[in-house]
Symmetry: C2
Subunit: 351 residues, 2 copies
């Protein structure tokens, strides 16, 4: 596998929509979800998905239940891209890397004439879309490593508070799914600790996870690069992001990441692609009541339809083979249909 | 550096006390500390150490203070061995590895005649004490890797609930310092999340951290081996502990481990040896009010005196040079004198 893959930026690359530019921050999604505590799962239609969630919470939090789980053992893990927010047609973190190229070139002007930076600087989306995985890997290393971790955090924060997606012209952070925000709130209200377990870079997601999802940085597990401790000229210590992969938090790596940073098997897990398969399997294989759910993107009006419900032409986005949904059926995972199970998809939609 | 060092088992090896055997579990220390919430730091004498703690908490939790820290950013990290519990004369985790050797030999009888296992099986402490670092490394790999993570957890749990130290004839988990238990409680009562950041193996410490310190597994950062995801013959997924070092959580590795598993700089950090130096430096180098404290083992009656307060002959235990305490003075760290600052050391002592 390539190390671009490691960085969680691969496979679903895309094309077309590389647009991304500034404006006002927004807490709409999170705020709305939190204000609705008294009506848990208000944006969920009655149906098998909602019922599975309610049954699971009842079974694990009712002290009289044979499947009762002590509060300290209540761990729920959530994939981010495609599960908590929109991943199609391109990961926001990849847009971030491309957007950072001009700043990198400014620091190292010699890159302006070198590929793949020259192509990115040209702004020619068609050419950018044709860059190879190795090119994207080089871009990721140039834009995500070599700087102080605090500097990286500040830059990523500035970007995420202003960059907008192409279709809705909204901040990426507004594109979280309202029903999933309600689910996070509902789990926490029932004593569960909620974790993001993402193939994306954990340093990147940690920048906004608390504000957007109510999930603190220490509860974000993601692909991680090594860091290097050193001292500046004044003897002040600092950490630098290194181009060395510590954790490839995708596929089996998600289970390994959970063990590394959480240390116990989740009681509930949510995903949407083959990168989540092992996490869903591992969660479901535990004793007592366990909940594994996958989001099916079958709503081409309000969001997108891809994977088994594909109505788009073939793209490079994601891996959602029918086999994953066959496994869901066989292993007792629950499928969440965006189209059927969600009354609203985004907080900015009329209710 | 050796990989035994990686496992956090090195340097302070020692000799003598390899004894360790079963009995009743005990929550004495933790229970006592928790019952004393209304009298914070009751076992601390009035003095500069206690004052530094009280001042820091006031400065960071009073909304009117210029150094106020929002609750979600209140992170405090604690070294374990020598800071939260007794490390002298030997790390309990190393005793665990030696105690596991007979079970390993039972599974692989050919080891009975191979060094270093033969020496360990002989029970001859003098010879065991003379084993090399490489021997101990081999013992650590044999006893800490190759099994299912759940199996490891179950075995370590059985051991820690029964193994006793040589001097007090008490469970290791009773040898936590009451004043530090009170400190953990006091920090949490003031909205701080408390983390253990240990050179020891995080899988090992996570087995008892919640019961003994009120710190859940996901808030234990320690030296970590890789794991490998696979399926058994029935298609059930499991994780195996691998002899591959992911994180050497000691010295600069503590800061790197904090970045990896917590994702932000601590506001307060507590340690006692050179392995904690970088964590204390990095914490203190942050903006606003920061607290870095080191425990000085200067009480040869109630515990031990070593390091700058050394009254024992030279041992292989720890690295606590005078230079560390000189740095403390220079950089504004606070020293905790066991002898002067603690009215009681253990919960089992008469108050």
């Amino acid at each position: 596998m390539s190390s671009l893959d490691h960085l969680g930026l691969s496979r679903r690359l895309l094309l077309g929509a590389l647009a991304a530019s500034p404006l006002l921050p927004s807490l709409l999604a999170a705020t709305t979800a939190r204000a609705e505590d008294t009506r848990p799962l208000a944006s969920w239609s009655d149906g098998p998905a909602k019922k599975a969630i309610l049954d699971f919470i009842r079974a694990t939090t009712d002290a009289a239940s044979k499947d009762f789980v002590p509060p300290e053992e209540r761990i729920a893990t959530f994939d981010q891209d495609g599960t908590l927010w929109v991943e199609h047609p391109i990961y926001s973190q990849l847009v971030y890397c491309l957007d950072r190229v001009p700043a990198v070139v400014k620091l190292k002007p010699e890159l302006a004439k070198a590929e793949p930076f020259k192509t990115v600087m040209s702004g020619d989306f068609e050419k950018i879309a044709k860059l190879s995985l190795r090119d994207f890997e080089e871009i990721a290393v140039a834009t995500l490593t070599g700087m102080d971790v605090d500097q990286f955090g500040a830059e990523a924060k500035t970007w995420i508070e202003s960059a907008k997606d192409h279709r809705w012209k909204r901040l990426y952070t507004e594109l979280t799914y309202l029903p999933m925000q309600e689910l996070l709130t509902y789990f926490r209200a029932n004593g569960y600790k909620t974790f993001i377990v993402t193939g994306g870079g954990q340093d990147f997601v940690r920048v906004y996870s608390e504000r957007v999802y109510g999930i603190p940085p220490e509860q974000v597990v993601g692909s991680a690069l090594g860091t290097k401790f050193s001292y500046d000229n004044d003897g002040k210590p600092f950490l630098t992001k290194e181009p060395k992969l510590l954790l490839n938090d995708d596929n089996a790596g998600k289970v390994e990441g959970i063990h590394l940073e959480i240390g116990r098997r989740p009681r509930a897990a949510f995903g949407n692609s083959t990168g989540d398969r092992q996490m869903l399997e591992y969660t479901k294989a535990g004793d007592g009541a366990r909940l594994s759910m996958i989001v099916l993107h079958d709503d081409d009006k309000r969001e997108y339809a891809y994977g088994p419900a594909q109505s788009l032409p073939d793209t490079k986005v994601g891996a959602f083979p029918q086999a994953l949904f066959d496994e869901a059926k066989k292993d007792g995972w629950n499928v969440i249909s965006m189209k059927d199970d969600w009354k609203r998809v985004f907080a900015f939609e009329a209710s």
